[in-house]
Amino acid sequence: MPEEAVPAGDVSRRVGVEVIRARGVDVDKLIKMLVANAAAEFASTYYYYTILRMNLAGHEDYKEICEDARLEDRAHWELIVPRIYELGGSLPNDLRVFHDQAGCAAAKLPDPPTAANILTLLLESERCAIRSWSAICDMTFGKDPRTYDLAARILNEEIEHEAWFIELLAWERDKKSIPSGHFRRGEPGEAPYSKNRQLYNP
């Protein structure tokens, strides 16, 4: 598909959008998927992980890892929202509408809130995030390098989060050692991939 010409001085359209549309990206669908993923980072995980972290009393090690994942999910939200607007999209004005558009289930406190149940929930939340960001990478690979770069940064961290929760759950529930292969973050929520090149991501 040829790129649609954007006349000089026209502020109603964006060359940054037309070039990726010309390369085969369904921009409207991409925006919807980014909004759903942003909702999952902010509403299904960051918010609910706060509650999960509060309920890991007596497990300081798990609390610290949950805190890393919580803050890094917030970093993912901060990283991807500007891209939604750059593409011509926007966030719903109503937080409830936004919450309902999330592509992943809300990580609500399990009953009973045992460490094993919380870690299981965290693990499955990370797995949904891996699938969701992989879908964005698939849509944009070789066509939209900017969205791909942002999604891949987030995906890198989601994959690390899954590895952490496999390690912790395997030990807590099964008394098995399945190393994540990672060392601890330098400080909580360090987000080495999604914050090392900031796109308004303090």
Binding site: M33, A102, C104, A105, R127, R131, S132
Partner: protein
């Protein structure tokens, strides 16, 4: 349990083990169906129930209106009887949800 999947690429007959999700049984049989969340939420795996009955209680978000319209989220659906399903109904299920004012992720 016998499951017939009517896909755009043709019809597949698969066997679903007790308690197994239809999507998992399809994958085990070499039939890859669409899915993203695997939580019964994002609607990517939506199918239409042509015959039979499924248990959809493991889905994160599934409404009586979805059941009434014969939509199924196969990533979290367990067949209760032999079933026939038309797969790749993502767009149709989103339209159905939007028309009823129900959550429609990715829409």
């Amino acid at each position: 349990m016998r499951v017939v999947l009517e896909t755009p690429q043709g019809t597949h007959l698969i066997d679903c083990r007790e308690g197994e999700f239809i999507w998992d049984a399809a994958a085990r049989s070499g039939v890859t169906l669409p899915a993203i969340c695997h939580q019964g939420r994002c609607l990517t795996c939506a199918s239409r129930l042509i015959e039979g009955e499924v248990d959809q209680s493991k889905a994160d978000a599934y409404y009586p209106e979805d059941r009434a319209a014969a939509f199924v989220l196969v990533c979290t659906a367990v067949p209760l009887t032999a079933v026939v399903l038309r797969t790749h109904q993502e767009r149709e299920m989103r339209r159905h949800r939007i028309a009823l004012g129900l959550p429609a992720p990715y829409a």
